[in-house]
């Protein structure tokens, strides 16, 4: 246990050192502190994984956080199979992205601040995954949200960046409100917020109902859906996905670490962690599966037409997160976590490659102004190509195994919506391959379409950036090999490993059906790549003609289904109207200011009147005194 404490607290120490000493002492050396800390965490996390693989899990309280009546919460750590995998994902990605940031953020004036926040983020994320109770989970949950806000708004002198930070924070509020209610419901039901007793007793409440807003609701469905609200916000699912594309205003390493590999997957982690609760409610699982499926389709279609390189990858992230929820929703939690784990590598890699491209293009994000970068930046090209092959589900790569497992379990599982979400998932697999390779072809192939100046400036990134790319690339290819299905002669080790926490997913089907599902998804992936090749390299006129032909559809996709506009109309503008006209105009100006300013004004006015008594002439005072005495004497005499 004692060793494991180092995992979260090393980054915390790095944060404190950097934030206190960074500005004046460490300056350009701030990265050393953070990198060494996270490397230390990584080493201990690997030890934790080895211990867990030997069957040793830990669930210990560290110290009592607070006690109020029968409500007791400790800071404690639970290290089981799920946590161990998350620890590896978080520390590995975090470490490589820290190293990459040294090159990417070189010369930035907030260098120390950037690394301090990255360390704080790593600490919060580790607290989140290592918690053994819901409240500590919530602490980590809000902590990563806070760091996300800091880092999205890292370039806070840019209005769009600070707006995006606020948007992310506020949109997350909606989800977290539900999450908070969910934790309260758990406490009211079970009398504790510790995982172990809650999950142990959950079965006993399977048939309970509770009165909620005047309706009798199935208790477990209610708790599961409230918790899922938090997941929707954090993992950018419909309808709270709007913050994630905007979050791309932050520096690219942040997008890679927080908005692709780790923080946004916290929602999936939550659902997986609470699988004993979710499994008791078929309705909740259906909601999870459908939300995931619809989100993944919806985001993938938007990704097809965007031109901002980072936003395409952001929509891709939303889409892949939808995939993970889809898996959880059909009861295949381990497949969801498996996809989380493989996705972390290839998606972080995609973002870092995009950052490398931006680095070469002097901050240019528009795909239409790139092209032919292949010969200038070979390492970036090859790593990004491999990451795209992985996300497209080409056999042998990490993404293939996890995606295939999800699709197979959706198809064969007991879920009533299984076949439907399998269908959607397959379509999304096709779209994913299409937009991923559109990105590759438009960026790296063909002719350069930018300005002459940009072309002159093109160069491969420094080693400190390319080496993390190569290391992540190894993960993007090989991380899936731990979960090769039985069908392909593997041992499905990942599912076996997760069994004590997430149970064994049910799947009933023949081998030929399994081959069929796999073949369909592979065909979908390859046809997506092929279509992208045909449309964006061979016949570059087709996309233009398609856009003209289906201009309405194209416009809707380009404007992201007008969701932002819809929210602006439905929520943002009414909220601003209320703020301006009622809160500022009436409450603030007419009530609060009237009280705050009125009291001193009244006192001031009164004192203006009575100060005239104080003339400073001795005889005036004496006269008043004598008159007073006379009055008193008169009263006494006449009484």
């Amino acid at each position: 246990m004692n060793n494991y404490l180092l995992i979260p607290f090393l980054p915390l120490a790095a944060f404190l050192i950097n934030i206190l000493l960074g500005r004046n002492f460490l300056k350009e050396k701030a990265h050393w502190v953070s990198i060494l800390a996270v490397a230390g965490s990584w080493v201990v996390a690997v030890m934790a994984l080895v211990d867990t693989m030997a069957g040793k899990t830990i669930n210990e309280d560290l110290y009592s956080w607070f006690v109020s009546g029968n409500f007791k919460v400790s800071v404690g750590f639970l290290i089981d199979q799920l946590t161990a995998v998350m620890l590896i994902v978080v520390t590995t990605c975090s470490m490589l992205i820290h190293i990459y940031s040294v090159g990417y953020m070189h010369g930035d004036k907030g260098f120390y601040r950037f690394f301090a926040y990255l360390s704080l983020f790593t600490f919060c994320m580790l607290m989140l995954v290592m918690a053994n109770n819901f409240l500590q989970l919530y602490f980590g949950w809000e902590g990563v949200g806070l760091c996300s806000y800091f880092l999205i708004g890292y370039y806070f002198d840019k209005k769009s960046a600070s707006d995006a930070g606020k948007k992310a924070f506020i949109v997350n509020r909606f989800g977290d409100f539900g999450f908070g209610l969910g934790i309260i419901m758990i406490f009211l039901t079970f009398g504790t917020v510790y995982y172990e007793p809650v999950f142990a007793q959950a079965g006993g409440f399977a048939n309970h109902t509770v009165n909620f807003l005047g309706y009798d609701v199935h208790l477990m469905t209610l708790i599961a859906l409230l918790l899922f609200c938090g997941s929707i916000g954090k993992s950018a699912q419909m309808p709270l996905h709007v913050w994630l594309p905007d979050a791309m205003e932050g520096p690219t390493p942040v997008s890679a670490l927080i908005h692709a590999a780790t923080m946004v997957t916290a929602g999936v982690f939550l659902v997986a962690r609470c699988s004993p609760i979710f499994s008791l409610s078929e309705t909740a699982l259906m909601v999870v599966a459908l939300t995931g499926a619809i989100t993944s389709l919806f985001a993938a279609t938007i990704g097809l037409v965007q031109n901002d390189i980072k936003r395409i990858i952001a929509y891709s992230t939303i889409s892949q997160l939808g995939y993970m929820f889809l898996a959880c929703g059909v009861g295949a939690y381990s497949a969801g976590v498996f996809h989380l784990y493989t996705h972390a590598f290839f998606k972080a890699l995609l973002f870092l490659c995009a950052g490398s491209v931006m680095h070469a293009m002097a901050g240019e994000l528009n795909l239409q102004k790139m092209g032919g970068l292949k010969k200038y930046m070979p390492v970036t090209y090859i790593t990004m190509l491999l990451a795209s092959l992985s996300i497209a589900g080409v056999p042998g790569f990490a993404g293939f195994f996890s995606k295939d497992e999800i699709l197979w379990l959706a198809y064969s599982g007991p879920s009533p919506v299984g076949k439907l979400v399998w269908g959607i998932g397959t379509v999304v697999a096709f779209l994913t391959a299409l937009y991923s390779f559109r990105l590759i072809f438009l960026t790296f192939h063909g002719k350069f379409r930018g300005t002459h100046e940009q072309e002159h400036h093109l160069h491969e990134s420094p080693k400190v950036m390319t080496i993390p790319l190569i290391l992540l690339c190894v993960g993007a290819i090989a991380s899936g090999w731990v979960g090769i299905p039985h069908l392909l002669g593997g041992g499905a080790h990942f599912t076996e490993f997760m069994k004590p926490v997430l149970g064994h997913p049910e799947g009933h089907g023949t081998h030929s059906e399994e081959w069929m599902v796999m073949a369909v998804s592979v065909i979908a992936g390859f046809s997506g790549i092929g279509l992208a090749y045909f449309m964006y390299l061979k016949r570059a006129d087709i996309p233009v003609r398609l856009a003209a032909r289906f201009s309405a559809v194209h416009k809707i996709l380009l404007n992201k289904y007008y969701v932002d506009e819809f929210y602006s109309f439905l929520i943002v503008r009414p909220a601003i109207w209320i703020a301006k006209n009622i809160l500022i105009g009436i409450t603030d100006a007419k009530i609060i200011e009237a009280i705050v300013n009125g009291i001193p004004k009244a006192i001031g006015g009164f004192s203006q009147v009575i100060r005239k008594v104080q003339t400073g002439f001795l005889q005036h005072y004496a006269t008043i005194m004598a008159t007073g005495i006379l009055i008193i004497v008169a009263i006494m005499l006449l009484r």
Partner: protein, 100 residues
Amino acid sequence: MVPLNWYLMLSAVVFMIGVFGFLTRKNIIIMFMSVELMLNGVNISLIAFSHYLQDMRGQILVFFIITVAAAEAAIGLAIIIALFRNKSTAHVDEMNEMKG
């Protein structure tokens, strides 16, 4: 035998002269003398009551008042001299530093 009332009237008259002198005159020395007059007005009534009631406590109190008045005269005159040196006037309207 002079009746008590006469003493009391004398006392009241002396006291009121002191009060009006204090309130109306602007010279600080005159005002100071008026204060002494008020004290002595009180002394007269105390002595008169003491004699009338055949009680010595009144006269003892008068001795105290005379003592205090002597001390007060000493300190008061010292203050007035100090004031006069500062302001080179004995007019109270010039001394309005306390004015709010």
